[in-house]
Amino acid sequence: MAIAKKTPEMLGKQISFCPGCGHGVVVRLIAECVEELKMEKNCIWSIGVGCYSLMGAAVEADNFNSLHGRGAAVSTGFKRCNPDTLVISYQGDGDAYSIGIGESVSAAYRNENITVITVNNTNYGMTGGQMSATTMPGQKTTTSPLGRDCTTTGMPMKFPEMIAGSFPDVAYVARGAVTTPAHVAKLKKYIMNAFKAQMNNEGYSLVEVLSPCPTNWKMTPLQAIERVNTELVDYYPLGELKTREAK
C-alpha cells in the first residue's frame, strides 16, 4: 500500500540551488513539519546569508532576510514579540559559527524559545567555497588551497556539542543529514522534535544538518553524498545530543 507524498503547499517556486545540494531537502522537511503542525499561517523564518538567502521567494510564509550571522538575534526579537508563533532561524555553518558565533551562542545561553537550523557543508558556499569553521583537516578550499592546516587554523567546530555541553537547560539539540533515506527520515523527526519543543515553550532548540556541496567540493552529487556518509559523519556524529525532557 503506497503512501501519497506531495510537496508541501507552502513551497512554491523552485529554488536555484546547485544540483545535489542538501538545502532543498532541508527546506522541504521544515515545510512538511510546519504543515503537519498546522503552523503555516503562524510561522516566521529568519533567513541568513548564504546560498539559501534566495529561498524566500520559494517559501510562501512570513520570512525576513537577516544580516550575516545575526539570525539568532533577529529571531529572538521576532519570538519575544510573537511568543505563539513558530520562529525558525535558517542559517549555514558559515553564517552561524564564525561571524555569528556570538549571537548563535547567546541565544542558546539565554535559552530563547526559538529553533535554529544550521546547514553544515564545511565551507562558505555562496561566496565560492572558502574555509569555514567546520572545514575538515586537510580539506582544500579557496582559502586553504593546500588543505586546511589545523595547527594554525584550529580544529573544526562542533557547535551542537558546544551548546548541549554548555547549556544544560536548552530544550533540544540534534544533528542529522540528508544523505540516505534513513538519515532523511530521522532528520525529519529531529526537526519535528525541535518545533514541538518550541511550541511547548521548552526553550532553545537546534538541529544541525550535514549537507553535500558538490560544486565547492568539486565532486558529483553522488560523490559528495559519499563524503558526508563516510568522512563527515565520522567527525560530526549524528543523533540527538540533548533530548526533550519527558513532559
Binding site: L54, A73, F78
Partner: protein, 352 residues
C-alpha cells in the same frame, strides 16, 4: 516644581510614555543608567527588556522587534553606536523604525567618558553602508528630550525611518526638573510581520532598486521640507550668528543674552534636528550679517560644514563661517564671549 530626575532615567521613562515596549541593549558609560532603569521598569509596563551580549546583537534583536511592528528602542554611546551601524543600515533598507539614544562621549575609538559632540558626522551621515538617512534629534534640556523622544517615534512610523536621539554625556548624567506626559499605548504598526503571511514582502535581494531609489529621494525630500526643527533668536538684525546644538547650544543661548546686553548684535540658531539640518533658519538671518560662528564640542569641526553647505543654497553663500571647537567640554559663557570677540577683532580666520 517637578521632580529632579537624572537624564538617563528621563530618556528611558520618556520612551515608555511614548508607547515603546521593547528594549534591547548593552551597558556602556555614560548611557548605562538607561538600561539599569529599564531592567525593572519595563516589566511594570508589560514590555520586553533584553540585556543582549553586545551592541550589535541588541540592534539585531531590535530588527526582529521592529519588523514585528513593535515600538522599540536601544541606547548606547559613541563607540557602542559604532557597532550598531550595520543593523541600522539593514533596518533602513526594510523601512523599519527604531529609536537609538546616543549619549555621546567624546572622542575616537574608546574616547574618554566626558561629554562631547564628536559623533555629529557619523550620526547625520550614517556609519553603515548605503544611501540611507536617519532622523537625528538633539535636545538641550531634559524636558526637551521628553518631547523629542515622543516625536522621534512618530517620525519613525510616519516615514518608515529610524531616529537617533543625539545627546551627550553631561545631559545624560545631570539632573533637572522634568515632567512626563501620560502613558501612551501604541498598536503594532500595520502591515508588520506577524506570522500569518497576509502580506507579500519582497526580499532585499529581489527588489527593484531603481524604483526604490526614486522613492527614497522623494521621501528624504519630504522629510527635509517638513521636519526641520530649531530654535533661533535675534536673527533679523544680527551682525553675527552663533550656531550650536545640545548643551553647547544651551551655553550659546545664555552667552547671546549676555552679549546682547553688552550691545553686541549677535543672534543664535540652535539646531534641534541635525538631520534634516534646519536650513530654513538661515533664511531668516539679516542679509547684512557679517558671519556665522559654529561652536562644537569636538576637535576638527563637523557641523561647520553643514552651515557652509546650507549657506551655499542662499544669497549668503559668500559670508564667512568660523568654527570653534571645545573638544570634550561644554563651552562656558565666558569662553563663548571671548571667542566671539576674537572673531569681531579679526583675530580668527574663517573656515569657509
Amino acid at each position: 516644581m517637578e521632580d529632579m530626575i537624572k537624564g538617563n532615567h528621563v530618556f528611558a521613562e520618556a520612551a515608555l510614555r511614548a508607547g515603546a515596549r521593547f528594549y534591547a541593549g548593552y551597558p556602556i558609560t555614560p548611557s548605562t543608567e538607561i538600561m539599569e532603569y529599564l531592567s525593572t521598569r519595563m516589566d511594570e509596563v508589560g514590555g520586553v527588556y533584553i540585556q543582549a551580549e553586545s551592541e550589535q546583537a541588541s540592534m539585531n534583536i531590535l530588527t526582529g522587534a521592529s519588523a514585528s511592528g513593535v515600538r522599540c528602542f536601544t541606547a548606547s554611546s559613541s563607540v557602542g553606536m559604532t557597532l550598531k551601524q550595520e543593523a541600522i543600515s539593514h533596518m533602513a533598507d526594510s523601512d523599519l523604525p527604531f529609536l537609538a539614544i546616543n549619549v555621546v562621549r567624546y572622542g575616537n575609538g574608546l574616547g574618554n567618558l566626558q561629554t562631547g559632540q564628536s559623533d555629529y558626522y557619523r550620526d547625520t551621515r550614517g556609519g553603515g553602508s548605503g544611501d540611507y538617512r536617519n532622523f537625528v534629534l538633539s535636545p538641550y534640556s531634559l524636558q526637551e528630550s521628553v518631547e523629542l523622544i515622543a516625536h522621534a517615534f512618530d517620525l519613525g512610523d510616519k516615514y518608515g525611518m529610524g531616529a537617533i536621539l543625539h545627546t551627550e554625556a553631561s545631559l545624560g548624567q545631570m539632573m533637572e526638573p522634568c515632567s512626563f506626559p501620560e502613558m501612551k499605548t501604541v498598536e503594532r504598526r500595520p502591515g508588520a510581520i506577524d506570522g500569518t503571511h497576509s502580506q507579500e514582502r519582497i526580499s532585499p535581494l529581489f527588489r527593484d532598486r531603481f524604483a526604490e531609489a526614486l522613492e527614497m529621494k522623494e521621501r528624504y525630500k519630504r522629510a527635509i521640507e517638513n521636519e526641520q526643527m530649531w530654535k533661533d533668536e535675534y536673527l533679523e538684525d544680527a551682525d553675527y550668528v552663533l550656531v550650536a546644538y545640545g548643551l553647547a547650544g544651551r551655553s550659546v543661548m545664555g552667552a547671546v543674552e549676555k552679549l546682547r546686553a553688552e550691545g553686541h548684535k549677535v543672534g543664535f540658531i540652535r539646531p534641534i534636528t541635525l538631520w534634516p539640518f534646519p536650513e530654513k533658519a538661515f533664511a531668516k538671518v539679516n542679509p547684512a550679517v557679517k558671519g556665522y560662528i559654529s561652536m562644537e564640542e569636538n576637535a576638527a569641526g563637523q557641523m561647520v560644514d553643514d552651515i557652509a553647505l546650507t549657506l551655499k543654497k542662499t544669497e549668503q553663500r559668500d559670508k564667512p563661517v568660523y568654527c570653534f571647537t571645545y573638544a570634550s567640554s561644554i563651552p562656558t559663557l565666558k569662553r563663548i564671549k571671548s571667542d566671539f570677540i576674537k572673531v569681531t577683532n579679526g583675530e580668527v580666520k574663517e573656515v569657509y
